[in-house]
């Protein structure tokens, strides 16, 4: 295994976009009285993959869901601090949360296609954005499915129900859906948690491909996966950001003893 070497190579990629495309500033988050994120500072570079790792319940998903304000719909939540995308606060009163979510695609741990056809699943973000032109929708569907490496498998059954796909295919369908409306950022919350190694491999390849155009945030429990695909890694523990650095540094020379324990599997 020399995935460290791979990621070291990737680390040599010159960052092609702004290094702080997404910026989390002194961010705290509360579910009711329960504070789950404590003063998080984090920067996510454009067109790179940033992995968020940490033990279960440390607040990775919460942070992810704060970026596209999906936590808004949960009652009794509250935040302090700020998250900026391209220097624009997502919590600004002038921000239209629907267009924010169109700029930020999301893939969930459990694949959650709609009970609709494959085609309708992919073009859903366009439909809700009011796009109706058939040719445009067709194009987007094909482009997204190709980008999600699913086109060849489903091109003959675009109008079959999405639930007929395998679980791995469904997850790639969800990725296709997340990129259909050309977002700038894609949030992936443990996208491979329910998948076999082959599907996982396919999705990882896909992420590396997507990196060229999108800014990706990947929550994962699979450290090897983080090491394989991410450029930067942020380690969280109990709602606090412990350490964020290039993936190589996190895995080879972590600064914090907690990080050290975690990446070497001695955590607990």
């Amino acid at each position: 295994m020399n995935f460290f070497f791979d990621s070291a190579l990737q680390d040599c990629d010159e960052p092609t976009g702004s290094p702080d495309f997404v910026e989390v500033r002194d961010f705290c988050f509360y579910y009711g009285a329960h504070k789950v994120l404590h003063n998080v500072f984090l920067q996510l570079a454009q067109r790179q993959i940033t992995a968020l790792i940490g033990p279960s319940g440390c607040g990775k998903s919460t942070l992810l869901r704060s970026i596209n304000r999906l936590n808004d719909v949960i009652k009794g939540t509250r935040h302090e601090g700020d998250i900026l995308i391209d220097r624009q606060s997502v919590f600004d009163a002038r921000v239209d949360v629907l267009s924010l979510r169109r700029r930020v695609g999301m893939v969930f741990q459990q694949s959650n296609p709609f009970p609709k056809s494959v085609y309708e699943n992919v073009v859903y973000p366009l439909r809700v954005a009011g796009r109706k032109k058939k040719s445009e929708l067709d194009n987007v569907a094909e482009r997204s499915l190709r980008a999600a490496a699913l086109w060849d498998e489903v091109k003959d059954r675009l109008h079959a129900n999405a639930y007929q796909l395998s679980v791995g295919q469904m997850q790639r369908l969800c990725i296709a859906r997340a990129i259909a409306n050309s977002p700038e950022i894609i949030l992936l919350d443990e996208p491979c948690a329910a998948l076999d190694p082959v599907s996982t491999g396919k999705i990882e390849e896909l992420l590396l491909e997507l990196k060229k155009d999108y800014t990706l945030v990947l929550v994962t429990h699979n450290l090897q996966q983080a090491a394989r695909v991410s450029d930067r890694t942020a380690f969280f523990n109990q709602g606090r950001l412990v350490e964020a650095a290039s993936t190589q540094r996190i895995f080879m020379a972590p600064q914090d003893p907690l990080t050290q324990d975690y990446v070497s599997g001695r955590f607990g």
């Binding site: 629907l98 969930f108 959650n112």
Partner: protein, 546 residues
Amino acid sequence: MFKPPRGFFRRLSAAAQGEPWVWLCAAGLIMSLVLVIGLFVLIASRALPAFWPQPVALLELRESGALAGRIVQKYEKQTDGVRETYFKVYVGNKAVHGKNFVHVNERELLRVSYPEDMLYIDSLDGGDIFGQPQSLTLQGGLRVPVDDPRFEDFFAQLVTDTAVRRIDILEVELGQLGELNRHLEQNARRLRVLAKNEIQNAAEIGEISAAQKKLQTRHEVYARKSKELHERQDHFTLGYRVASGQSLVMPMEKIDHYYYPNRLGFFEKADVFMQNIWRFLSEAPRQANMGGGVFPAIFGTLVMTVLMSAAVAPLGVLVAVYLHEYARPGLFSRLARAGIYNLAGVPSIVFGVIGLCFFVHLAGGTLDQLFFADALPTPTFGTGGILWASLTLALMTLPVVVVATEQALHAVPRSVREASMACGASQWQSLRRVVLPAAVPGMLTGLILAMARGAGEVAPLMLVGVVKLAPSLPVDAVAPFVHLERKFMHLGYHMYDLGAQSPDIDAALPLLFACILTLVLLVGALNFLAVWMRARMRKKYAVKPF
């Protein structure tokens, strides 16, 4: 070597495996099934024989002549310490006997025979007639005796002819004459209005009067035609002899259908059986609902159930969507929900009262004042009708739909809602495009339950528009085709009428069971339709949990 611990291979005791509970549950299920099937078999076994042609016996008595009829029961009775056997005979011929059943003591019986020429007639005004034919009278007093070889052919032909003429008469009287009468009536009303200002309206008055004249001439023509037709009908009669020896005459036009019950072979009987069932389903009732069929009641039940569903489904879904998706949880939504759920516990007659006060008097009365003022004081919507009945039942079944819809919405997984929102959909878009379609099967379940409850409900209908005998159907070929203000008939009420209001419950009983069977099958068919739709929707929209 592996040494199993003690008890390693011991089977779990039956109790520990929950076996008694499994048995108990299974017993419960079986009991319910037996009840359902038993009920159905009971209803069918009481209903269907009524359609099967029974032989008609001629009972000759020692002292008082003879009787003809169907022997429906043989029973024993103690009188003064002596056991005696009796026959219960359905004798029909109400005009002769004044009652439907006669009880004959076996000792009085001389002989029982089944004469081949025993004739059964279903007459339009006298119910069932049993007799032996003697002769036909044709036009000009020409008689065809029963031993004439052409007798049967003539008989059949005449029955058909008079039936055709009967329809012609109806057409003239209800169709053309009815239409003319309506016009005449309208013009007369207009003339009365115009007459208040005779000088100014002189021109119009003249016009209308002229039109009236023309209408009157046409009216006379049709009236004459109807009279002629009636006279022709009167020429044809059947002479027959009843068991007592009396000779009677039956106008041909009064015969709905006839057959010779003692002559029929099995397949002919089966044929009559099917015809009887068809008549029951397709004809209107006669003789105070004791004869004929129940078509208007089936139709009324169907139309009412459809209208009710059309009202309750959208209303219930709207209420549930608001309560579940939009209303902020709090005192208000809890009160609203409790209020709606508690509607389910209100006795149905109360809904009848609500419907009468709120729909009929308030809404209907207002509608009449606004749009049908010229017909007042005769109410149009201000009296019970199929619309108000449907709305009343819709109100009654509302909680069923609301509860089912809320549950269906609740069952749509959060993950799918979040997926939709993460795609940039607004709450309304998520609701319309993902959540509602996924909840449709559950909503249909609610509708099925509502229909099952609503279709069989009688009590509230009695206050808001159901009648024993409706002159016309709520949907027909006369514009505007759907007549929401009309009174209607309903199978449930028909049953109540047969069971509780009929002069002779014994004679009504088979009809009653036939009605029950029809209602059960009708509700079953409606439910089947909805279940089938739901299955299709499930295939298309159901969300699979992962």
